[in-house]
Amino acid sequence: MSEPTASIIPDDRVQPLSQKEFDRYSRNILLPEVGVERQARIRAAKVLVVGAGGLGAPIALYLAAAGVGTIGVVDHDVVEESNLQRQIIHGTRDIGRPKTASARDSIRAINRGVKVVTHQQALTSENALDIIEQYDVVVDGTDNFPTRYLLNDAAVFLGKPVVYGSIYQFDGQVSVFDARLGPCYRCVNPTPPPPDLVPSCAEGGVLGVLPGLVGTLQATEVLKLIVGDAEPLIGRLLLVEAWSTHFTELSISKNPDCPVCGQQPSITELIDYQEFCGVGGHDDQETPIASITATDLKTRLDAGEPVQLVDIREPHERALSPFPAAHAVPYGQLVRRIDEFDPSVDLIFLCTIGQRSVFAIRALERAGYQGALLNLKGGVAGWNQEFAQQKAG
């Protein structure tokens, strides 16, 4: 059980509501826990949504509808068709547009009273403090470990709460990290997994509605922090398991030795987060992974050089984006079928984006395979990008 927290909005920023706003937000105001004064706090609030993707979409839309006065949106990307299965802030007509522009239009369509600040850029160690400083609370809707650590550290340094959400396949996690009152993200996740062990949604997939579930939980936590006197998810990690429909609350606590928010912090300014996440979890003993680019592979294939091209994707993935030149051996069967490969010929693994192949190479190395192992850099997605005419339907 968390303690009720005071509103994160300073009293001197709260201005009276207009009659029009009374009408618009009457269903919020009717709640004794909200009322007129606290609805005015919601309007005074400045919320930064990092990532206008699966999580950012419901977060920004619901916060706009609830009357949050200023919403900042950080994203450097453009809308793609494969985003639309879950990123409901963008529509079919937005394909190719910057995500921040599309998000701004959707927010404004819901509520003209919201000031939208677009940050069409990636959050970096250089700009994070300047951007986050302008807001009362940060909502983490990012898709990668480096940005999550960056955002956490910047928020700890600035004394701002982070409303955290993360999703993968059917599972989600939600928490509120506020180093002044409880653990920060680093207390719970001191080091990131090595990049070759991290499956992304692009590779592992994600149920389209799951970010809706997790994002609305995050939006709820944001409103609770603004309104005050609620019990936010501080010191608690909520697991959402959609396939079995289980919600589990885990107890997490502040790490006194946390390098950022502990008693004797060793990290006192923003660091290089790509390096931290790329090298931090790596085993230096391991041999580097050999890769081949799509262009080089095509040259070798066109020249008729002998290679063993093995597609380690699952059947449903191959159906989405076939690569008929390759011999299909799903990842899980590789070690068992090791005798099917000829160690005297280069063995090139291809997967969706070139992540699982790295793990496949490690698995075969461990199993004692003696031949040359290569990863098709960027996977089939990279190949298709390079040679668009090869792309299936």
Partner: protein, 86 residues
């Protein structure tokens, strides 16, 4: 996935788990056989860092959860492919 395994402590249970599923070992254990720092373990919904770490005692009815870190949120195929290529 849920399994029933023997073990008087978290460490013993993890050993029973990796004995039963050797393919899992490299994902959760480092070369010295210690739990990798990015695998969080909860006993009856409490982080073992708040308990006795891997020495945390288990009863017959304890539920132990291994929780991997996940980072997804605004997944974007192109961006991830780009990061991988770096």
């Amino acid at each position: 996935m849920q399994l029933t395994l023997p073990g008087a402590t978290v460490a013993e249970l993890v050993t029973a788990l990796t004995d039963a599923y050797p393919d899992l070992a490299p994902h959760i254990l480092d070369d010295d056989g210690a739990l990798r720092s990015y695998v969080n373990v909860f006993v009856d919904d409490t982080d073992i860092r708040q308990l006795d770490g891997q020495a945390t005692a288990l009863s017959e009815s304890s539920t132990v959860r291994l929780l991997p870190a996940i980072a997804g949120g605004a997944p974007d195929d192109r961006e991830t492919a780009r990061q991988e290529a770096r």
